[in-house]
Every structure is written in structure tokens, then in C-alpha cells.
């Protein structure tokens, strides 16, 4: 199985969790990988904005890697965006409702990141 297809499996599992509205992997080397199932996020404009802009963060945050950067959070009015860094220049993006139980979801975000690291042998 191709690496991209292997990565889609844990992403698909993450998206099945009730409060996960959308998730994808983005990185300089790997591009953007989304699960095969459609994102649950209803706000298409926001979804497009997230997809179009997240890669632009990498040059800005590059210098923070040496300090062990692992996550970035964006709190919007109705949603929260969690950027979990899987390796240098690669992140798992998860979008959840603002009032979701973030701690519980973060455990599965971490499991997803670990499975993707395994696939990529990082």
C-alpha cells in the first residue's frame, strides 16, 4: 500500500470520532492528505481558509522547533483548530467544536500522530 493510503487509515479513524469535524495532514514534503470520508465541518468557507493557509505557518514557526514545538491551538468563535506537529515541517490538523471535550480528543490525536509517525518511520 502506498504511504499516502496508509496515512489515510488513522485519519479516517480520527474523523469517525463524534466531535472531530475535519482532519488532515499537511507538510512540505508530503503535501496535503485528507481522509476519504467527507469532512463534517459545515462552514465551507472556513474549511477552504484552513486548507489554503495552514502550510503558510511552517516558515513562521520553523525557528520554534528547536524549543520542542509540539502543538498550536487556534480558538475561533465556534471551532478550535489543533495543529499537532508530527515531524519537522509536517502537522496533523484537527478541527473540533469550541465546546468539545478537547482533552479526550487530544488523546486520540496523539494516537493518530503516533500511527502516522510509524508509517513514515519517523
Amino acid at each position: 500500500m502506498e504511504i499516502k493510503e496508509k496515512i489515510k487509515i488513522p485519519l479516517e479513524d480520527l474523523l469517525k470520532i463524534e466531535d472531530v469535524q475535519a482532519c488532515f495532514i499537511t507538510g512540505r514534503q508530503i503535501g496535503t492528505i485528507t481522509p476519504d470520508s467527507k469532512a463534517k465541518l459545515k462552514n465551507l468557507a472556513l474549511w477552504k481558509l484552513i486548507m489554503d493557509t495552514t502550510h503558510k505557518f511552517f516558515p513562521i514557526i520553523n525557528d520554534f522547533y528547536i524549543y520542542g514545538l509540539s502543538k498550536l491551538y487556534f480558538e475561533l468563535k465556534d471551532y478550535e483548530i489543533i495543529m499537532s506537529f508530527i515531524g519537522h515541517g509536517m502537522a496533523l490538523i484537527t478541527i473540533i467544536p469550541a465546546l468539545a471535550n478537547k482533552g479526550l480528543i487530544e488523546v486520540e490525536i496523539e494516537n493518530t500522530s503516533r500511527r502516522i509517525r510509524e508509517v513514515l518511520k519517523l
Binding site: D13, K16, I17, E18, D19, K71, S84, A98, L99, N101, K102, G103, L104, I105, E106, V107, E108, I109, E110, N111
Partner: protein
């Protein structure tokens, strides 16, 4: 890594399935269990709420392969096993040991009549183990935790500031006995169990969902039920040690709950003034903190009171008008504000596990509060590392539920609490 089959004829394993379909979960768990434990004396099975449409398939699959192994369990917010940390999945603990007798118990309608449920359950355990020749008794219990009613027009809210609060409070109280939707009343169940089974170590937790407090389930063999207590009584030559740690610090802020209502579970007045306003004043919190994100603050600042030297941490669950509603009875009106941090929660793991050092531990059962899991989030994997460092190859299962129950007969102490880490070791004297 997840088995213990080399210290006497005791065999145990803790297995996990992350498959989605019930049949496949059952098949995977059966195969994993069979590799380690051929004829389980009993099976404990816990699942997260995502599997609610698969429970029957999972249970019937497992019971078909292990028809003689009594099974109990329920839903949890998450769990840690030797394999990892999960807030989505199914876990099973299977145990085999020759010098052991088992009985199961069940009591229904725990929210309407907790005493009666406890009595029915205890009688089944007593009857089932009356001919057992082993002297050491242990009772593992799974209760039904809190479920919050959804009211018409209001829905399910943590904060109600409007004039409707008084009405909602009355409905909240009524819905507990009428619809069995509300707080778990676990402390009343435990009190009765201790009366009826004074020689048993009692250990367990309350079933829960993904912190949404909508529904929770209990399992008994192939049955999926709610608002019940299910229990496994164990009579054996194995011993039990139970220890509780908190990782909560005193803030130095104390107050008097001068008016308690709702069966002592709601604080209506603090220092003689309306409770919510007075709390905001004491904590120097702005009024706009009272919104649906309030738990992101209150999870770190539980209330606590002491009774017979035991600390009882309480989560401030709901803010209704002037009242703060907590999860269980406040037995001492002298209340302290506590604080939790990620570090203190992590430190409490070491503090607890160190007490089991140098014992011939065979298996560890652990319970904790989903609030701690929600608080620590992805850093829960550090707890996993700590447990593995302490326990090496001894199997364990740590469940995150809606409250924890402990009774230690030789100390004559029992408590139903929140926000703690409770560990029970089943061990053999050398």
C-alpha cells in the same frame, strides 16, 4: 508485556481492540485473551461510548467463546492499559486462578432507589459465595454515573443564569427519581454495600460517556443495561491493597457552605450569601467566566472537604442561578478550594505506585476521574510511561469514569470521590 502468568498458577491479561465493528472487536479480544488465559474465572470489559451500537455484538461474541466466564463492565471516558492510552476503543481484562470463587451481582434503578439496588446486588454476591472456603473477599463494582437531563427549550447546559434556574433546579431534582436522569447517587450505594458486605474490599468506578453526560451503560454477561450496579465478588487466597492519591493542592482559600440543598449536593449559600456570586468574589473571577467553557476552569479548581481524615474532592458540575451543583453529598460544610495542575496529576502517579513496591503484585486495577483525563489531555501518555516504569510486566487496567469507590475494611474507611487516582493491587503473600 500485558500478561502475568509466571508467578504461581495465576494468569491474567489486559487486551485492547480498536476495530470499529462489534464482531471484529469480539474476535480480536477473544484471540488475544486465548493466547494468555484459556479459561478465565471472569472477564471485565469496558468500552468507550462510540461503540454503543456494537455492545451487544461484542458481548455475545465474547460470551459465545467464554460461556462459563462471568463478565461485567460498562462504558468509560477512556482507559490506559500496558498497550497505550485510549479515549476510543474496547478493553478486556481476563483472569484465571485456581484458588478463587466468583459470584456476580446486579441491582437496578440505582438513581431511583440506590439502597435497594445495592441490597439486591449484595445479596446475590453473598449467596453466590456462601460456600466458598477462601477467606479473602474483594468486590469489583461498576455503577451508573451522572446523566444530565435535556430540558425542553433549554437543552443540556452547565450554566443557567436566568430566572428559569429555580424551575430547572426543581425539574433536575424531579427527573432523578422520575426518569432516572441526574447524579449517580453512588455514595448511597457504597454506604449500603459496606453495611451488607463489611468483610469485602470494595473497589470500582462509575460508568460514563465522552464527558457529555448523556448516557452510560453497564454490562452483565450479554446484557446491556443502564442505571444499574453490576459487581463481581471474588473469594480467594489472594490479598488486596488499596491506595488513593490526589495530586491536588490546597489553595488556602476556605469557605463555609452555609446552605446546602438537593440532598446536600447543591451549595446555595456561601458564608450566608448567594453561592455563585460569593464564589466569584472569593476567586476574583469575572462574571463572564460563567459560560459553557466554565469546566475548563473548574476542572483545575475542585472543591474539597474532609471527613474522618479523608479528602473528598468535588467537581463543580453546574451553576444554576445562585446554586453550585456538585456530584455527591457534601458531608462537611467547611470547604476548601483545591488546585490541580498537569504536574501535580503526574506526580500523584509516582506517589501512589511507590506504596506497592516490594509486594508480590499479580495485577493492578486502577480507577480515576475523567476530569483528570480531560485536564491532562494528550499528556496522559506520560502517566502511561510512569506506570510501565513502576509495574514493568505486571498487568494493569486504569479506567477513567465518573467517580471512584473505595472501601478498605481493616481501616474502616469508605469513600466515593472525584478527581483522584485509586489503585488496588491483588497480590499473593510471599
Amino acid at each position: 508485556m500485558n500478561k502475568n502468568n509466571n508467578k504461581t498458577d495465576f494468569k491474567a491479561c489486559v487486551e485492547v481492540s480498536r476495530k470499529w465493528e462489534g464482531e471484529k472487536v469480539a474476535e480480536e479480544l477473544i484471540n488475544k485473551i486465548k493466547n494468555e488465559v484459556l479459561n478465565p474465572k471472569f472477564i471485565l470489559l469496558f468500552a468507550t461510548i462510540e461503540y454503543k451500537n456494537e455492545f451487544k455484538k461484542i458481548l455475545s461474541g465474547i460470551k459465545t467463546k467464554f460461556p462459563d466466564s462471568p463478565l461485567i463492565g460498562g462504558t468509560v471516558a477512556g482507559f490506559i492499559t500496558p498497550q497505550g492510552c485510549y479515549t476510543r476503543g474496547v478493553t478486556a481484562l481476563a483472569l484465571e486462578y485456581h484458588n478463587m470463587d466468583i459470584a456476580v451481582g446486579i441491582g437496578h434503578n440505582t438513581k431511583r432507589n440506590p439502597k435497594k439496588a445495592a441490597k439486591t446486588c449484595a445479596e446475590m454476591i453473598k449467596k453466590g459465595l456462601k460456600n466458598s472456603k477462601w477467606k479473602n473477599k474483594f468486590l469489583y463494582i461498576v455503577n451508573s454515573g451522572v446523566m444530565i437531563p435535556r430540558f425542553p427549550l433549554i437543552g443540556q447546559k452547565s450554566v443557567i443564569k436566568s430566572k428559569l434556574a429555580g424551575k430547572v433546579m426543581a425539574l433536575f431534582s424531579e427527573s432523578l427519581t422520575k426518569f432516572q436522569c441526574g447524579i449517580g447517587r453512588e455514595e448511597e450505594i457504597l454506604e449500603e454495600l459496606v453495611k451488607l458486605l463489611p468483610d469485602y474490599y470494595i473497589f470500582g468506578s462509575s460508568s460514563y460517556d465522552n464527558n457529555k453526560m448523556i448516557i452510560n451503560y453497564q454490562f452483565l454477561n450479554e446484557e446491556v443495561v443502564t442505571n444499574t450496579i453490576v459487581a463481581i465478588g471474588i473469594s480467594s487466597d489472594l490479598k488486596t491493597q488499596i491506595n488513593t492519591s490526589y495530586g491536588l493542592k490546597q489553595t488556602g482559600i476556605d469557605f463555609e457552605a452555609t446552605k446546602l440543598t438537593f440532598g446536600k449536593r447543591a451549595i446555595q449559600e456561601i458564608n450566608g450569601k448567594p453561592a455563585v456570586k460569593e464564589l466569584l468574589k472569593i476567586m476574583k473571577w469575572p462574571e463572564d467566566i460563567l459560560n459553557e467553557r466554565i469546566h475548563r476552569v473548574t476542572y483545575y479548581t475542585p472543591l474539597g472537604f474532609e471527613k474522618k481524615g479523608i479528602l473528598y474532592p468535588e467537581v463543580m458540575g453546574f451553576f444554576m442561578g445562585d446554586s453550585i451543583i456538585c456530584g455527591y453529598r457534601i458531608e462537611n460544610p467547611r470547604i476548601s478550594l483545591l488546585s490541580a495542575s498537569g504536574k501535580s496529576i503526574l506526580d500523584s502517579v509516582d506517589e501512589n505506585l511507590i506504596t506497592f513496591k516490594n509486594k508480590n503484585n499479580l495485577i493492578f486495577l486502577m480507577t480515576s476521574c475523567s476530569v483528570r483525563l480531560e485536564t491532562i489531555g494528550g499528556k496522559i501518555f506520560r502517566i502511561h510511561e510512569k506506570i510501565l516504569n513502576h509495574l514493568k510486566n505486571t498487568p494493569f487496567l486504569l479506567l477513567y469514569g465518573a467517580g471512584e469507590d473505595v472501601y478498605i475494611p481493616e481501616k474502616e474507611v469508605y469513600y466515593h470521590i472525584n478527581e483522584a487516582l485509586n489503585i488496588a493491587s491483588i497480590y499473593k503473600e510471599r
